[in-house]
């Protein structure tokens, strides 16, 4: 009996509402649009909140279920075909119940194992890792993988922008909301793309976190701890080398040469940073798949949005390599795809 192969059967995505451009963002939250364009490089993003009214229009479960539904439809599968669900998010709707189980309920999925990973920018890759491991171990045949984030909790309107720290202001220009999903299967359904490798390593030993998202309850809700904080300098310095290391580790594992990579999906921090990282990555002939400039940094959703863009460009045989780096406690991750 030959060992099973994990295939990428389909991808689905969901971006809530209309794109919010820099001029609109400047109008509602006071982040200068010229600055956002120059230093972040993102031209638009999507929010689950209506910036004009402050009304929360979508939960994470809403957009994750829509993305998952689209992935299932794309694969030609129904809820009863799914025998495991894995989801990654940094911003669950609740601490309990886990959002993955609310999404499963919306989709009509029951009586299967479900997992939710508390994860940041490497979350989609970690979820793919769990899914692929279960497929290769013969535990499951068809796994639904989901990633998404909604930053509604952190989006304040009608505040004095002058009262915010530099990092808090930057976050308004950097982040956005979104969800993505993929169906992985041991059968070569849909795209005919095989997932050749998934790597996911914590490399945070002795390193201070580059990003912290706090949470509050009744006992500490009046705390003056920031809800979200980043060490931008550390992120700018550390992500590019970690991305390169992961790229070479993936290629080394598979015995692929850098010139044999047709598509490269680089880490998606911001339009400006991703362009820089992407240009410096050693895959001379690879077409770069960057999406953050128009969708914003929506964390766990980004690799799925890159995959959707990849599938729209990828005809015929070839190889693709994706890299994601999480700067919270520092995780480097990536995966490699091949179509014969």
């Amino acid at each position: 009996m030959t060992a099973p192969t994990a295939h990428l059967a389909s991808v689905g995505t969901c971006l809530p509402g209309e794109p919010v451009d820099n001029a609109t963002l400047a109008k509602f939250v006071g982040v200068d649009e010229t600055w956002a364009e120059m230093f972040i490089g993102n031209t638009s993003r999507y929010f689950a909140v209506d910036l004009a009214t402050g009304q929360v229009r979508y939960s994470l479960a809403d957009i994750a279920a829509t993305a998952a539904d689209r992935a299932l439809a794309e694969a030609g599968l129904g809820p009863s075909d799914i025998d495991c669900v894995v989801m990654g998010t940094a911003t669950p709707d609740h601490l309990m119940p886990a959002t993955v189980n609310l999404v499963a309920d919306r989709l009509g999925i029951d009586n299967v194992p479900t997992y939710q990973l508390q994860s940041g920018c490497a979350g989609a890759v970690q979820a793919l890792d769990v899914a692929r491991t279960l497929l290769l171990a013969g535990r499951c045949a068809t796994v639904l993988v989901i990633g998404g984030d909604v930053c509604a909790k952190h989006l304040e309107r009608d505040f004095d922008p002058g009262s915010r720290t530099s990092a808090e202001l930057v976050n308004y220009a950097l982040f956005g909301d979104g969800a993505g999903a993929a169906v992985l299967s041991t059968d070569p359904l849909g795209t005919g793309i095989a997932i050749r490798q998934v790597l996911n390593r914590l490399v945070g030993l002795g390193r201070e976190p580059g990003q912290i998202i706090d949470w509050f309850g009744l006992g500490d809700r009046h705390s003056d701890r920031p809800a979200v904080s980043e060490d931008y300098k550390a992120i700018e310095e550390t992500v590019p080398p970690l991305a390169q290391q992961m790229f070479w580790e993936l290629l080394g594992d598979l015995g692929w040469g850098a010139d044999q990579v047709d598509f490269l999906l680089p880490p998606q921090l911001s339009g400006r940073m991703s362009d820089r990282i992407s240009a410096a990555m050693p895959a001379p002939g690879a077409r770069r798949i960057n999406v953050v400039r128009t969708v914003g940094n929506n964390g766990n959703a980004l690799p799925f949005l890159q995959l959707a863009e990849l599938l729209s460009q990828w005809d015929g045989p070839g190889r693709a390599v994706a890299v994601a780096v999480e700067s919270s406690k520092w995780i480097k991750s990536g995966f490699a795809l091949e179509r014969s």
């Binding site: 200068d32 600055w35 922008p161 002058g162 530099s166 202001l169 931008y232």
Partner: protein
């Protein structure tokens, strides 16, 4: 011209209180590269704070061309 930041002393006070950047008067003519803490993120905060003080938009594109804090002060007051 805004009166709140008309003089360089007021500008230096704002840099210290809002951005934690203490400058002597003569530091205003030193190249920005001499200040390792100065970066684009602090620039955003400066723009945001100054716009709050003067009650109007600051020409950020002009601010990006400056090489010293004195030139920055001129952009802010010439708006």
């Amino acid at each position: 011209m805004t009166t709140a930041l008309a003089g360089t002393a007021e500008f230096r006070t704002l840099l210290e209180e809002e951005l934690g950047l203490y400058l002597e008067e003569e530091d205003l003519d030193r190249p920005l590269d001499d200040f390792p803490d100065w970066d684009s993120v602090l620039l955003l905060r400066l723009v945001t704070v100054v716009e709050g003080v003067v009650g109007g938009r600051i020409p950020v594109a002009d601010l990006l061309q400056v090489r010293t804090f004195r030139q920055m002060h001129q952009v802010v007051t010439d708006r």
